[in-house]
């Protein structure tokens, strides 16, 4: 079943931050600690970094895990095994939190 964002969670992309992160990535800097997506779950604010935010944005219920993986592997230069492991861990974390659902 495809992954879908919990509709009760409000979120948005921080455009200025995202532009800064993209520029930093161009320069080869580590941007893993820089949030670009803000979301509010159960009244608390959280942020996702650029890659996490990209996955979050793609989880609109229209894609399988395999399709997500294929899209991300085209966008990011990461070893396939590393990406698969990171993606699984991220998805498990967010589904455990009920931020993402299978449906």
């Amino acid at each position: 079943m495809n992954l879908q964002r919990n509709p009760e969670i409000v979120w948005r992309i921080e455009k200025r931050r995202e532009a800064d992160v993209l520029a930093a990535m161009e320069r080869g800097e580590d941007v893993s600690e820089h949030g670009t997506v803000i979301l509010i779950a159960n009244g608390m604010m959280h942020q996702l970094n650029f890659v996490g935010g990209r996955i979050w944005a793609l989880c609109d219920g229209s894609r399988s895990d395999e399709e997500l993986f294929a899209l991300l592997s085209g966008e990011f230069q990461v070893e396939a095994a590393e990406l698969a492991a990171d993606l699984t861990e991220f998805i498990n974390d967010l589904t455990n939190r009920e931020w993402l659902r299978r449906g």
Partner: protein
């Protein structure tokens, strides 16, 4: 890829996430160009807007709600029970989430006042809404808090909100004297013998840290999860009836007019960063306090607006506290 739970730095937000918006000013004049303002709030990507100051009596309320909801904003509105507001309610197909403004009904807490509040609650329910109760805990009404909780439980209200004290440019010395004092909070603490029972069946949203401590004792080790310091001019904004953007409803400092500029632009300009610097600065009166990392100086807006006799400490703060023996801080 990662997700961050805490310690998040959000000073670079494009725009606030939530705002309060006055639809009438203190003289009763309506917010002008309200639909334009609503469109700007939608465009700025806000998540939550709370409409205050008799919003349902605004002649353009239906259009305002359509714009805000259509833009994905979750809308709440306060309700004070005036005749014009009832007319507004009757004219709406779908009400927003309502916060029934207990301050408009209660002063001394007489039986008649509680009955009026009850009647308003039941009348609103006939429109298919389940109102929350809102009460700004001012000096006069703070002692009524236990009764308000009982009232809510008895009448099936599940949410009670105790928001910050709003301040506008016309705030007078008389109004300043309506703020509760640390001594009054201490007196309330002696009255609330069983806070768990007081909260039973209710969701309490409490702005003031020192009041929160009385209502949620023993929960400090878990932190006050929804609070990471004053959010004014950060994730929070206030829109005055004249379209002026303020850091929050307790801080009438002009950041820029929504009638003239988009919120994204106002949010990236110098006036906002002046406010952020003030919030980030350790108030002299808080130096050495063991609880600073819990309260971060508390409500900075009221201190900035009204001044503090205690070197910038929150107006409800009774004094510096010793460092935690566990070295938590």
């Amino acid at each position: 890829m990662s997700r961050e739970d805490d310690g998040m730095t959000i000073a670079q937000l494009d725009t606030p996430l939530r705002a309060t918006w006055e639809l009438h000013d203190s003289a009763g004049e309506i917010s002008l160009q309200a639909e334009l303002v609503a469109e700007k709030l939608v465009y700025a990507g806000l998540f939550y807007v709370t409409l205050v100051a008799r919003p349902l009596a605004h002649p353009a309320i239906a259009g305002i709600l359509t714009i805000l909801r259509g833009g994905g904003i979750q809308v709440q509105a306060t309700f004070a029970g005036t005749e014009e507001e009832w007319q507004g309610v009757a004219g709406l197909k779908s009400l927003p989430e309502i916060g029934l403004d207990a301050n408009a009904f209660l002063s001394c807490g007489t039986a008649n006042e509680w009955e009026s509040l009850h009647q308003a609650l039941e009348s609103l329910r006939q429109y298919g809404t389940r109102p929350a109760l809102w009460m700004v805990p001012d000096r006069e009404r703070l002692p009524l808090l236990p009764q308000l909780c009982d009232f809510g439980r008895r009448h099936g209200v599940t949410r009670i909100k105790l928001p910050n004290t709003p301040v506008d440019a016309s705030f007078s010395a008389r109004q300043a004297r309506s703020l509760p004092t640390p001594a009054q909070l201490a007196a309330l603490r002696t009255v609330i013998i069983d806070p768990v029972a007081l909260r039973s069946g209710l969701t309490l949203e409490v702005h003031d840290l020192f009041l929160w401590e009385i209502l949620f004792p023993g929960e400090r080790e878990n932190g006050r999860s929804e609070y990471g310091g004053c959010q004014a001019a950060n994730s929070l904004a206030h829109i005055a009836a004249n379209g002026m953007v303020h850091p929050c409803s307790s801080w009438p400092y002009a950041l820029g007019s929504l009638l003239e500029r988009p919120l994204e632009e106002i949010w990236q300009q110098g006036a906002r960063f002046v406010v952020l610097e003030k919030i980030a600065a350790l108030p002299a009166g808080c130096a050495g306090c063991g609880d600073y990392e819990q309260c971060f100086g508390g409500c900075r807006g009221l201190v900035e607006t009204l001044g503090s006799a205690d070197n910038g400490r929150d107006l409800l703060c009774a004094g510096r506290r010793p460092p935690s023996p566990k070295g938590r801080h």
